[in-house]
């Protein structure tokens, strides 16, 4: 487990000195220096010895976001990522052989976790309707195939998507905040979010400001996420996209994950699907570790959504193994784990047909979108 609260105070002996100095007489410490020590001492142990007088923070890590420097100190205090170890572990978990009934279970689970996505400039209401129909009933020839978790569209397509999946339990997710670049002012981003939520989006996929993150302005990113979180209200769950392909190091991905979770993300999501490097087993493993540790620390469960580049059922099953072995069974549910994909669904359906009939299926037997 990660050490969560970096020691923001001086060495322990420093903090303890006042107890020996001040208790005998019971007198009030005279000097300013002494007062400073007391308050530091009090701050450090306040949580342990006193009842909270203010409303409790959402979780025990609220104070790390007090200022830019505490946030930076916290994020940079996270342990560094062992790159070789991480990739080796992700690769070794990808070697499991999942067959027969386990495979059938995994395929159905994966289908139920797909956020069926269309994010093209050429999207039309007709295409979104077709996608919605497919999300509700992925395999029209087999009614036992589960529905997908959601359809994911641009904000202006939310009404069309909402109508297409009405009454089915399939959610509508909308990207927002100037997706995919995120290069717009906060006001524009919030307007984008509000529009999506007002149109009825059940989930909002926001992108973080990678420029600010890479420049080290963590608090700016944090504030932006909390503002978007607020704009989502209680109606919509918030997915925060880090665009891991642009964060360049695993350490940054770990920091971004914690930053997003601290700011109140319901889901942390790898990528937009618009850059060269999207979801990989390694970066998803890293994020799964982060949500596991975050829940252990704060009791708050956060979902994970790898997106982009997952095209085959085999890959999807590898991700499910990662989830089970890292975060645990609690995440094996489409409330806590999603795949952002479009072509993946067809491969899952073809594998499902193969399992049911014994014959290899082909692209002629699934819908082309």
């Amino acid at each position: 487990m990660l050490p969560i609260v970096p020691d923001t105070l001086g060495p322990t002996t420093d903090a303890l000195r006042p107890t020996t100095a001040g208790t005998l007489t019971g007198s009030v410490p005279a000097t300013n220096e002494r007062a400073g020590l007391y308050s530091r001492y009090a701050r450090r142990y306040a949580r342990l010895v006193t009842m909270p007088t203010t409303a409790p923070a959402a979780h025990g890590l609220a104070d790390v976001t007090a200022s830019d420097s505490t946030l930076r100190r916290f994020l940079h205090g996270l342990p560094g990522v062992d790159t070789v170890g991480l990739e080796a572990r992700a690769a070794s978990l990808g070697t499991r052989s999942i067959k027969t009934t386990a495979k059938a279970y995994a395929l159905d689970l994966a289908i139920s976790m797909v956020d069926l996505t269309t994010l093209e400039g050429a999207d039309t209401p007709g295409k979104v309707r077709a996608l919605g129909a497919k999300a509700v009933r992925p395999d029209p020839t087999d009614r036992t195939a589960p529905a997908t978790a959601a359809v994911c569209v641009y904000p202006d397509m939310v009404p069309a998507a909402k109508a297409a999946v009405a009454g089915s339990g399939v959610k509508v997710a909308s990207v927002a905040t100037a997706f995919p670049a995120g290069r717009a002012s906060l006001a524009v981003k919030l307007a984008d979010v509000r529009e999506a939520v007002e149109a009825g989006a059940d989930e909002v996929d926001m992108v973080i400001d990678r420029g600010a993150f890479l420049a080290g302005h963590y608090l700016k990113v944090y504030d932006e996420i909390t503002a978007v979180r607020e704009a989502c209200g209680t109606a919509a769950r918030l997915k925060v996209i880090f665009e891991t392909g642009e964060l360049s190091t695993y350490d940054n991905i770990r920091r971004a994950s914690w930053l997003g979770m601290l700011a109140g993300a319901d889901f942390i999501k790898t990528s937009t699907g618009k850059v060269a490097v999207n979801a990989t087993p390694a970066n998803t493993l890293l994020m799964l570790e982060a949500v596991r540790d975050f829940r252990a620390q704060t009791g708050v469960q956060v979902g994970v959504k790898p997106a982009g580049g997952i095209r085959t059922a085999k890959d999807a099953i590898k991700f499910l193994v990662l989830v089970n072995e890292t975060a645990g069974e609690d995440w094996l549910d489409n409330h806590w784990f999603r795949f952002g994909a479009s072509s993946l669904l067809n491969d899952l359906l073809m594998q499902r047909q193969k399992l049911a009939t014994g014959r290899y299926s082909g692209p002629d037997y699934v819908t082309v979108d």
């Binding site: 047909q353 014994g358 014959r359 290899y360 299926s361 082909g362 692209p363 002629d364 037997y365």
Partner: protein, 297 residues
């Protein structure tokens, strides 16, 4: 003079323009006519067949969309490359079929000539099998042949090279892509053919070559929903029946094994093997014969 260490060749599959080993990791021993060990060949599994179909499907758009003239050039280039490795094929065919060197050479020459012959057909077959149809109405009615799609080809079991070329070349000449199951006992010339195809401008995936037990690989291919046709040249009577039944599921085109007399692969082939894997597309186009209907335009 010191004796050289022997350098054995690792025969591998040819799938999607690459040379993978079998997914299963298995190999089997290939022997010559007298039972002497020649080499180890990959023993393909059904998953290799599946991968080959995926590769062939991926290559189909580009290959069928290429101009017939371009296809002809590429096939001719294959013949050029075959010519350059003639000695190797003579040795492999002689070893596999137990022929004398001169008889094997005659087989190889015939195979190369046949390849050239089919290369010439690429831009002519449409004129022979397509054309304008006379119809009673103000329409142009045009039929043109189009490739069927992904064709599974079971290569003849005995004629390891001439037979192989005689079934593969007509399939790809018309724009189909092929998954070839090499002769079970004599797979080496087929696996070497992959090396020639890889170096002759033929896009990866147009021809995919698998070696192994014909029955084991052919069964999933015959049942495969994404295979459009199957050539049963290399299947025995019983196996052919079984495969044809499996192929009926998605209405595959099936070319049955020809009668034993037809197994003389040196005879002039005719166009049947090409037309077996062509679909005829017919287009009706109004001629706009407005004068006939009395319009004043």
């Amino acid at each position: 003079m010191s004796e050289r260490l022997s350098v054995f060749k690792t025969y591998k599959l040819y799938v999607g323009g690459k040379f993978p080993r079998s997914e299963s990791g298995r190999v089997y021993e290939v022997t010559d006519a007298k039972g002497k060990w020649l080499a180890n060949a990959p023993l393909s599994s059904r998953k290799d067949a599946r991968d080959a179909v995926v590769a062939a499907r991926k290559a189909f758009g580009g290959w069928s969309g290429a101009t017939a003239y371009n296809r002809g050039q590429i096939l001719y280039r294959v013949a050029e490359m075959l010519e350059g490795r003639r000695e190797q094929y003579v040795a492999e065919v002689a070893g596999a079929e137990g022929l004398s060197k001169s008889k094997a050479a005659a087989q190889v020459d015939a195979a190369i000539d046949r390849w050239v012959w089919y290369a010439g057909w690429t831009d002519k077959i449409a004129q022979v099998t397509g054309g304008g149809n006379p119809v009673a109405g103000p329409y142009f009615n045009l039929s043109s042949p189009e490739p069927t799609g992904v064709v599974a080809v079971l290569a003849p079991q005995d004629s390891s090279f001439l037979g192989l070329v005689s079934v593969v070349a007509p399939v790809i000449a018309t724009g189909n892509t092929a998954v070839v199951v090499a002769s079970e006992r004599h797979p080496l010339p087929a696996l070497s053919l992959g090396e020639v195809l890889a170096t002759s401008d033929l896009p990866g995936g147009v021809v995919n070559i698998l070696s192994g037990r014909t029955a084991e690989i052919a069964a999933p291919l015959a049942a495969h929903q994404d295979v459009n046709a199957i050539d049963l040249a290399g299947a025995g009577e019983e196996l052919a029946k079984e495969l044809e039944t499996a192929a009926a599921d998605n209405l595959k085109r099936v070319l049955r094994p020809q009668p034993v007399d037809g197994a003389d692969w040196s005879a002039t082939p005719g166009t049947e093997r090409m037309t077996a894997f062509l679909e005829t597309k017919t287009v009706w186009h109004p001629t706009g014969a407005l004068g006939a209907s009395g319009s004043s335009y």
